[in-house]
């Protein structure tokens, strides 16, 4: 459905419980922060209109439950995703260590047509906490991991203060769009899907 691809961009936010997935989504879509968000049960999504080069897109941002136990639900929510956002809390090593699990779980459940080049974006959230003094994951460490996974674009954010959130989602949308366009181009060519891997940009310019 190329027409759907052109107008709707589906983005999935994953990461451990309490890293700020719901807050990031709400900060981006509603420009609001609340410390009263409840733990997400099941899944929900918000939409936002974004414009690129005179074209209007609907960014559909999916917020999912963070507890590992609910991962088996992903299969219903991940399908058709154009971009996956991996979020960790810079104050929690565990949440960073789990990024790999989230990434792999996503690729298994969403089974995108070209897993090698499926666009991810990594966000290190909660940089505002304790003015950075409680930080346990360094930016260097995070960037190194992103580089090792095919130059995943990386942003350090604060959903609470609204730091870098807009920029991060601009990049997310751009990557989602790219992913959609590639599918438009390559999906009809059922014979030669694998060889298209070098086509994708390896990073985000922004």
């Amino acid at each position: 459905m190329p027409s759907r691809r052109r107008t709707l961009l589906k983005v999935i936010i994953l990461g451990d419980s309490g890293v700020g997935k719901t807050s990031l989504m709400n900060q981006y879509v509603n420009r609001k922060f609340s410390n009263q968000y409840k733990a997400t049960i099941g899944a929900d999504f918000l939409t936002k209109e974004v414009q690129f080069e005179d074209r209007l897109f609907t960014l559909q941002i999916w917020d999912t439950a963070g507890q590992e136990r609910f991962q088996s639900l992903g299969v219903a929510f991940y399908r058709g995703a154009d971009c996956c956002v991996l979020v960790y809390d810079v104050n929690s090593m565990k949440s960073f260590d789990n990024l790999n699990n989230w990434r792999e779980e996503f690729l298994i459940q969403a089974s995108p047509s070209d897993p090698e080049n499926f666009p991810f974006v990594v966000l290190g959230n909660k940089i505002d906490v304790d003015s950075g003094n409680s930080r346990v994951v360094s930016e260097k460490k995070a960037r190194a991991w992103c580089a090792s996974k095919g130059n995943i674009p990386y942003f350090e954010t604060s959903a609470k203060e609204g730091i870098n959130v807009e920029e991060a989602f601009q990049c997310i949308a751009k990557n989602a769009l790219k992913s959609g366009e590639e599918e438009e181009i390559y999906l009809p060519d059922t014979i030669d899907v694998a060889s298209s891997s070098q086509q994708r940009s390896t990073g985000c310019e922004c």
């Binding site: 309490g18 968000y37 049960i41 899944a43 929900d44 559909q60 136990r69």
Partner: protein
Amino acid sequence: MQETELHDLSDDADYAASQLQGSASMMRSDSISKQSSSSDSDGAEIVYSKDNVTIHPTQFASERIGGRLKLIKQGSSLFMSWIPYKGQSSNARVSEKDRNLYTIRAVPFTEVRSIRRHTPALGWQYIIVVLSSGLAFPPLYFYNGGVKEFLATIKQHVFIVRSSEDANAFLVNDFQNPLQKTLSSLELPRAVSVAIEPSTSFSAGESPSNENQQRIDGGFHNESSSISQYNAKQRQKVHDPRDLSIQVLEKFSLVTKFARETTSQLFRESHGNGYGAIERRNHDQSYFDYPERVSSVKENVPDEIPVPSDPLEDHLIQASILVKQKISCLKHNHVEEAATNLGTFELISCKEVDKLTLVWGKPRQPPLGSEEWFTFLDSEGRIVDSKALRRRVFYGGVEHGLRKEVWALLLGYHSFDSTYAEREYLRSIKKSEYETIKIQWQSISPEQAKRFTKFRERKGLIEKDVVRTDRSFSFYDGDDNTNVNLLRDILLTYSFYNFDLGYCQGMSDLLSPILFVMEDESESFWCFVALMERLGPNFNRDQNGMHSQLFALCKLVELLDSPLHNYFKQNDCLNYFFCFRWILIQFKREFEYEKTMRLWEVLWTHYLSEHLHLYVCVAILKRYRNKIMGEQMDFDPLLKFINELSGRIDLDSILRDAEALCICAGENGAACIPPGTHLHCLLMVYYCTLNKMTSCKCGPDSGHDVFVLKSIGRYLQLLCFVIAGFSKPSY
């Protein structure tokens, strides 16, 4: 315009005769009106016109609706219409709405299947017109005679034959089939869905209120009259299979009436202005209705995607007819017939009939209060009849002050036959037991915790969740709230008590109301333990508990609303993940705090089913089925829609729906029920009814008046069975 609706009857010989009879129940028509001309510019010609043809919506003479029956010829087609008189100020009880409901607008005879003439020894002649759709109009009583003339006129214009089986039945458009076959070929569900059809396009904007419910319930009040009258008249010949088939026909006419009423209610509720427009149209319309007008009314229906009607609703309507029959028979025990020069009047004592509210579940009751609570207890505090208590809580919940005591019982923490003293003793035992478990994690030193990742993670997860659990609710709001700390302690203790299950998101939602009610750490813990005995599988690591419940929900929807099921199937929604939150935490996020507590205590009674929550799911889905299908929601919009229902669902009406659905599905759902069970049950009800027994207990739960509903699935078979002329089974 209204003036033209009134009638000059001075030239009508029958009318004059009726005036001499001085019937109080007859329609007054004392204004002058335009005399209906016998021809018209459209080429329509009135070939028959009869005044004071009346329908009897209820047994009350004051609610009878008089009107003019006409046969109209246009080209080669013959149409029948019956337009009620307007402006009968003496008839305050007959509303404009009722008149509109019953109006028959120019029905072409190509759509008429049969007409049966009834000539009772006492009272007026009447006819029943059955359409080829299976729909039947209410009996039309000819106060001024004229049935014969009516049939003769039809005969001049339409091919009509007298049934070889029944001299009083006339078949239209039927060149060979005897009546028996005609009748047995009637498909009842289709008949009803035809009647309901318009409503399906209207309900897209339905509100979560329960008005609809109440109105539908209210709609039952009027239906029993004609049947009770027939029963009176046919008392002697009830064993004749042919009369049974006629009674079935008469029931069809009630179906029609009920369906129309429902349609109109739905119409008005969801399209307030639209309905008004149609009402105005009716006012503006001359009493002479052209077929073209019918189509113009149809155009007023908003253009929406047609949605398949709810089969269960159709069946419920039919069941209500049976129930009503039962009621009417109950009434009949108190009927005195007074023969007057006008016919039969029935004086009805209604003392028995008021308690029967059936179809969509019983009305909710006020919550159980302390005075009543003590009636359930013996002197030592045992619950004498736990089923009665569960039933009471099921229908009304409990007052907040009693929850502490009642919840502990419902959850099984205390047993129903425990005494005050035993409960007190258990409390103290359990308190120390709780402390023992709690100290297991409290004694973990920071040094030990460093090497205990699982504990740290679990504690971290719980701490993250308790600070975002119901913080806007006063009991948990503010910084350093001690109740939030209690939530944490109880959950952490639970994760040691049940180390395998551990902590899972959603548990804090379940504990929150329990702590609020119990106001005691240990008691809350043990009640939570009892609750997790029931809900634990929801939180299993492999999510099997959730998957099996979602699967069961899928099966229930398939059973209770197959069009909706098919819709979900087509739209790849059969995983029912959009109901995940509902089931995982028992609708905790869907209702406000107090309503959640009410719902939970109802669910916890396990009164009708331990799976009532699944029926609540079905009830909510069914309530919004037309919106879901009408707006063609697929998975994403459906999930969004369901999530956004939060806080907008009317609990009481959903509980009533869920109750009814649970009863309907109960035995139908169980594959183990031997075939024919329902038929057996329903036949018994039916014959009990015919034999005017005051009660007939055939449901497993005889205290429940809804037993008739158990048989809905077989209702159609029953009708075919009866219509096909089977003789009375020997009971």
